[in-house]
């Protein structure tokens, strides 16, 4: 596993946001995105259930001229209890295949009722 971003602070206003292309190694098959959620210990993170995110991961095989959709999710903020425990992250894990050199990944994000204040971690895997 390699960490591209490690709990990087983010503050995304309402609207559409697109990251720059991020280069990944030739043998990477899987990308994981982790978004810190609202908890008792992190009360300023993504506190409102009305703040929603539509996140999509895209992959370029031609140096950034074109991007193909890989995977995506929708999620809402606020405190979420799972099995009696506060959920600390929203997580997405999906493919960035086929493997080859020179690939770029990009995140396309739409936030409603922002801003979305959180921390973002991006990790890559070879299996």
């Amino acid at each position: 596993m390699a960490i591209i971003l490690d709990h990087a602070p983010i503050n995304i206003a309402s609207g559409f946001f697109q990251t720059a292309g991020i280069a990944i190694a030739a043998n990477i098959t899987t990308l994981q995105l982790r978004l810190a959620r609202n908890t008792t210990a992190t009360p300023t993170f993504w506190p409102n259930a009305s703040t929603t995110i539509v996140g999509n991961i895209r992959v370029s095989f031609d140096g950034g001229s074109n991007y193909q959709h890989s995977c995506g999710f929708t999620a809402s903020g606020g405190l979420v209890i799972v099995d009696g425990v506060e959920a600390s992250e929203t997580t997405l894990r999906g493919p960035v295949t086929p493997t080859q050199s020179g690939r770029l990944i990009r995140a396309d994000v739409t936030v409603t009722n922002g801003p979305l204040l959180s921390e973002l971690t991006l990790e890559t895997f070879t299996t």
């Binding site: 999710f73 929708t74 929203t90 493919p95």
Partner: protein, 229 residues
């Protein structure tokens, strides 16, 4: 024309989301795409996932809901009217979910491919997840089985079952998404009463189901004189 595995498949997993999607690239119109979903809502609400891809018609084949928890294993399919890169989305409807998606494309389906009646099962507190037997009504069917289980760090072993299934995709020892597995078997001739089982790493709550799909055309099986004696 019978079924063939195109080897085009994809999986995605997510934790604490409202919906999840994954793109299956370079699909071909007329082929069958299967979407197995393992989903879990720790808040106590269970909803059947609705699968869409922004254009084609999707049909739910089964949803096996949990015995004591808000979890389900679900199977939907589409005979694609439009191929190409398809973004397949699974939305359980309300609340936040842990989800795993397993999508897989097969060539050779009938235009109305459902065969027989799907069966499913669920249990809490055992380490053997078994679908029970389905009874396809056609020869040369494609059989798909999907499993979901609660314990996130449990291993999942796909057993040969009665017919020797092949793993499509799984979410084993799952930290991200709900744990689960999808397997398939392309049958030749009379299918009998196929079933499948998974051995889990520990006793937990599980749900699973199995369903058969009719091929575009069935092979004619000619009896030789020796066979007719």
């Amino acid at each position: 024309m019978s079924y063939a595995d195109t080897a085009r498949k994809a999986t995605a997993k997510a934790t604490t989301v409202g919906s999840l999607n994954v793109t299956l690239n370079s699909t071909i119109a007329g082929n069958l795409v299967i979407c197995g979903t393992s989903s879990y809502d720790g808040g106590g609400f269970s909803q059947e996932p609705v699968v869409t891809d922004g254009g084609n018609t999707w049909t739910k084949r089964f949803t096996q809901t949990g015995v004591t928890v808000s979890q389900c294993a679900s199977l939907s399919y589409s005979v694609l009217g439009t191929g190409g890169n398809r973004t397949i989305n699974s939305d359980p409807g309300v609340n936040t979910y842990d989800i795993a998606l397993f999508v897989h494309e097969f060539s050779g389906p009938h235009s109305t491919p459902a065969s027989g009646t799907p069966v499913g099962a669920g249990n809490s507190g055992s380490a053997l997840a078994s679908t029970g037997s389905t009874i396809p009504t056609d020869n040369d069917v494609l059989v798909i089985a999907v499993e979901a289980c609660t314990n996130p760090l449990s291993s999942i072993t796909e057993n040969a079952g009665s017919e020797g299934f092949t793993l499509s995709n799984e979410n084993e020892n799952a930290i991200t998404g709900d744990a689960g597995s999808m397997v398939f078997k392309i049958m030749v001739g009379s299918p009998g009463t196929p079933s499948h089982s998974w051995t889990l790493g520990q006793s937990t709550t599980w749900e699973c189901g199995i369903a058969a799909f009719k091929p575009l055309s069935e092979t004619t099986h000619v009896l030789t004189p020796a066979m007719m004696v």
